[in-house]
């Protein structure tokens, strides 16, 4: 079972985040945390005329999905705390879009859990991106590589193939 002391913060927000503030909050007062890893995703330009991304999500399910993935990470890795911040709304190239940070006693669990959480988030958390290029919107397609990235972690309760969604 999860350590009762596992810290978790899940935030879905339009506003930007400050990495150092999030890391400070995650580590504060936890003298047994010997490592903190973080991944920050940025909005990458997708070509000429890249204007903005519009991010939509499923309020309620998003938080539940991330909560579930943190439970699974805590079962697999010896971690002490997790912070996930995901932005929604309109974002322009270069802006921060997502943060996953993990604390643990020793570095390996923090590195691995951070990567595991990002792989889960990419294919299981209900977010959708629309690229606005020269004023024209286009929904982004899911990538098969992201499913493959999650599959290498083995059997995952509740995880469903994404890019090859069921027909019918």
């Amino acid at each position: 079972m999860n350590p009762p002391s596992l810290r978790r913060r899940i935030a879905i927000q339009t506003q930007d985040f400050v990495l150092q503030h999030e890391l400070d909050a995650l580590c504060e007062g936890d003298a047994s945390a010997g490592a903190v890893t973080s991944f920050v995703g940025l909005v990458r330009a997708w070509g000429e005329g890249s204007e903005a991304l519009e991010l939509e999500h499923y309020p309620g399910m998003t938080e539940r999905s991330i909560d579930q993935m943190i439970d699974e990470a805590a079962r697999r890795f010896d971690i002490r705390g997790v912070c996930v911040v995901h932005r929604v709304g309109r974002l322009t190239p270069g802006e921060q879009i997502v943060l996953v940070a993990v604390t643990s006693s020793h570095r390996r669990a923090a590195f691995e859990a951070c990567e595991f959480l990002m792989d889960w988030l990419k294919t299981q958390a209900p977010f959708w991106k629309k690229e606005i290029t020269d004023g024209v919107g286009r929904w982004v397609d899911a990538r098969e590589q992201d499913d493959a990235a999650l599959a290498r972690w083995g059997d995952l309760p509740g995880a469903v193939a994404n890019a090859h969604a069921q027909r019918g």
Binding site: S65, L121, Q124, W128
Partner: protein, 88 residues
């Protein structure tokens, strides 16, 4: 039976964010599974048929958890249909 049906991304753009459907207790066409519901919705309008057609690679959730089409429905369930997710 009453169901709340939510749509997201390109499906939402065509059908709107939410629908509420009710079947009387003796209705013969009451869907039993999430897949039944999708097939039933396809018969409700041209727009539903277009975006929920079997060849549209969609995912589904019931009560805010991802599920397969074989997942059984219950009265009061919240079902959602949406394209593959693209967060992160």
């Amino acid at each position: 039976m009453k169901l709340t049906v939510r749509y997201f991304a390109r499906v939402r753009e065509v059908l709107g964010p939410v629908e509420h459907w009710t079947w009387s207790a003796d209705a013969a066409d009451t869907p039993q599974t999430v897949g039944d519901l999708r097939a039933w919705l396809v018969r409700q309008s041209e727009a539903h048929a277009q975006v929920l057609a079997p060849d549209q690679g969609l995912r589904a959730a019931m009560d805010q958890a991802m599920c397969e089409g074989s997942h059984p429905l219950h009265d009061g369930a919240e079902v959602a249909f949406f394209p593959p997710v693209t967060g992160g």
